[in-house]
């Protein structure tokens, strides 16, 4: 008998009465989602900026100190970088990337998380974690109250990959002292457009 059959048949042999799946509770809405989202981003160690439109976004990005670095990659339409990700054959070549700007699809007020779908990462998934700094761009209309609402909006089209990013990379593994910049981005700026 294969391991698969052994495990499944052992489970079926012991199967008891099926317990019904419960309904999910309805979350209580707490204040203006965009305001709350910006507070949450700051609370998780990021910076949050609200801009009126794409022109203001471009101006805001230009004024961001990390965006003046040498090697920048942008996946945000209308924002230009200095590194052409399509021309990079191997993600290891991104090891010296200074900063990446990535568009988010959904933003979550309760925890500052931004959902980034795989196709927004371009040809290399590593682009969100390997650079020194990260800039995320979301639309105000895409801010939802909580994770339950977020999952109502998330789809998983090809390439079958996606993630929530909430603030910069961090650790508290040494005496619980919070240190920003463990393995991934050392800073995470989030622009809310609209």
């Amino acid at each position: 008998m294969s391991a698969r059959e052994a495990i499944l048949s052992a489970l079926r042999a012991s199967r008891t009465e099926v317990v019904a799946a419960p309904a999910h509770p309805a979350p209580v809405k707490q204040g203006d989602p965009v305001v709350r989202f910006m507070e949450s981003v700051k609370a998780v160690g990021g910076q949050a900026y609200r801009v009126a439109d794409d022109a203001a976004l471009a101006a805001g990005m230009a004024g961001l100190p990390v965006w003046s670095a040498q090697r920048r990659a942008s996946l945000v339409p209308g924002i230009d970088g200095t590194v052409d990700l399509e021309a990079v054959a191997d993600p290891h070549e991104l090891a010296d990337l200074d900063v990446a700007a990535i568009p988010g699809e959904v933003a979550v007020a309760e925890n500052g998380a931004v959902w980034v779908k795989g196709e927004s990462l371009g040809p290399h998934r590593a682009v969100f974690v390997i650079p020194e700094h990260l800039v995320l761009v979301v639309r105000a209309a895409d801010v939802v109250n909580d994770m339950q609402e977020a999952y109502g909006r998330i789809t998983l089209p090809r390439p079958g990959y996606g993630l929530f990013i909430s603030g910069p990379s961090k650790t508290a593994d040494i005496e619980q002292s919070l240190v920003i910049g463990a393995h991934g981005a050392r800073s995470c700026a989030v622009f809310v457009v609209g």
Binding site: S2, A3, A6, I7, L8, A10, L11, R12, A13, S14, R15, T16, E17, V18, V19, A21, P22, H24, P25, P27, V28, A43, H92, A95, E110, N111, G112, A113, H124, A126, F128, V129, I130, D146, M147, Q148, E149, Y151, G152, I154, L156, G160, Y161, L163, F164, I165, S166, G167, S169, K170, T171, A172, D173, E175, Q176, S177, V179, A182, H183, G184
Partner: protein, 462 residues
């Protein structure tokens, strides 16, 4: 007996200053958890829903695992099944060997600790680097994790500085957490860039979509799965949940319970390999089906490994992770260990005050302190208690079954406590009295008081 919890705990508390430091560090996490939970008005309903989803899934686990496998395979994920740790290790090694992998990076996975994967691979010439900072610290020190979320919680920053000096060549005397983390970042970045494969655990497998979720704060799982072309994920059978939307419930609970954060920094959903790469998923039983077959043990498999029960436990906080004989310490480990091997972990159900705090903070409502109590009874029935405790229990049940004897015994005890309190410390109660103050002996027993107040009997003069 080397793994007797009280014996190990005794060594831990010898260093009084460190014991208090450890206690405070964990209580700090508990306080953060409370604050985070209080920001969610529907917290209790979320716990109930999370428990219900887990119990529902476990009651149909074979169906959900099949659905998960079918959809995952359609997504291009290669699914493997392992009956036990040995089979899991063999499968992982086979995948690595086929591609000539000599260097692998690994993010946190308690399952691979359970399977003893690292020594298995190292014995076969493969370098395995744990990349979670806490895990890397304990790996460099040659120790197992002492906490499931904060593996190096027992180590002071000066000791970590010394360890890094010795193993990574950092300047002597470094103890600033920011500087130490920076050195670890440089050291591990090199390892990430050299790795030919990355291994991760799995926080949730989603039957509906055939993908899985891995959660980290450091981004180490992400570095390890976006650079090397081969990703292997190890998952216990109990990690599957029915629907993508169920994550909305679990992710609202997980990080808040674990570290008091509203969510972890990176919550990555894997539904396909890297373009041109390979994604393997190893589904592991290793004793879980057996635990599922018994109704009273099943609930322990709802655990989502947040560590909240460790942080709140007065015994864990004051005895440290290494006092526990099972690889997962604290209340959940004291349930899981004895469920697997009661004789091997017979002291663990007693490593609890049964205060119930673990049950109260558990995000999926595992009835931890009830299970610990039931395991004590089981240990008693299996004659696994030490001689003193066994005799003490026998004596207690003999006396308590005989009211007259009980009353007389009480009288004697009150008299002894008054005239020669030192005697109590040499009798069979001596062990229990170690480190405890003796109470003032009451003038009368509760039964005397009751008789006097309710039945008008005269006061008993001592």
């Amino acid at each position: 007996m080397i793994h007797h919890h009280p014996e190990k705990a005794k060594l831990f508390v010898l260093d009084d200053e460190r014991a208090h430091w450890h206690d405070k560090a964990l209580w700090f996490m508990r306080v953060k958890r409370d604050r985070a939970a209080a920001t969610v008005p529907e917290w209790e309903q979320l716990r109930t829903a999370a428990e219900g989803i887990k119990l529902h899934t476990l009651s149909r686990l074979a169906d959900y695992l099949e659905e998960f496998e079918r959809k995952a395979t359609a997504n291009g994920i290669q699914v493997h099944w392992a009956r036990d740790g040995e089979e899991h290790n063999r499968i992982v090694h086979g995948i690595l060997e086929k591609r000539g992998v000599k260097k692998m990076v690994k993010s946190k996975s308690m399952l691979t600790e359970e399977c003893h994967l690292n020594p298995y691979l190292e014995a076969r010439g493969i370098e395995v680097v744990d990349t979670d900072l806490g895990e890397r610290i304990v790996q460099l020190a040659g120790e197992p994790p002492s906490h499931i979320v904060m593996p190096a919680i027992h180590r002071k920053k000066e000791e970590i500085g010394e360890l890094f000096h010795e193993k990574l060549g950092t300047p002597k005397g470094l103890s600033d957490p920011t500087l130490l983390t920076e050195r670890a970042r440089e050291h591990l970045r090199e390892k990430f860039l050299q790795a030919e494969a990355g291994l991760t655990g799995v926080n949730f497998g989603i039957a509906e979509t055939g993908g899985f979720v891995v959660v980290t704060n450091e981004g180490n799982a992400d570095m390890g799965t976006t650079l090397p072309p081969v990703h292997i994920a190890s998952m216990g059978i109990e990690k599957v949940i029915p629907r993508l939307a169920d994550l909305g419930v679990f992710l609202r609970l997980l990080a808040r319970s674990a570290t008091g954060q509203p969510v972890s920094s990176y919550t990555t959903h894997f539904h396909a390999p890297l373009p041109g790469g390979e994604l393997h998923l190893v589904i592991v039983d290793n004793g879980r089906t057996e635990m599922l077959s018994e109704a009273h043990r099943r609930k322990a498999l709802c655990c989502i490994r947040c560590g909240a029960c460790l942080n709140t436990c007065p015994v864990y906080r004051r005895s440290g992770g290494y006092s526990y004989s099972y690889l997962i310490p604290g209340p959940i480990g004291s349930v899981l260990g004895p469920h697997r091997d009661l004789a091997g972990h017979a002291s663990l159900p007693f490593a609890s005050s049964l205060c119930g705090s673990c049950t109260d903070v558990c995000p999926v409502k595992v009835d931890l302190h009830h299970q610990l109590l039931a395991l004590r009874q089981e240990a008693g029935e299996e004659k696994l208690l030490p001689f003193g405790k066994r005799m003490g229990m026998k004596l207690a049940s003999f006396v308590m079954a005989r009211p007259a004897l009980f009353r007389a015994g009480g009288k004697v005890a009150r008299w002894v406590l008054r005239v020669a309190p030192g005697l109590a410390r040499v009798g069979p109660g001596a062990v229990w009295l170690r480190g405890r103050e003796l109470p003032e002996p009451p003038a009368e027993s509760f039964a005397d008081l009751y008789d006097r107040e309710m039945n008008g009997k005269p006061e008993v003069k001592p």
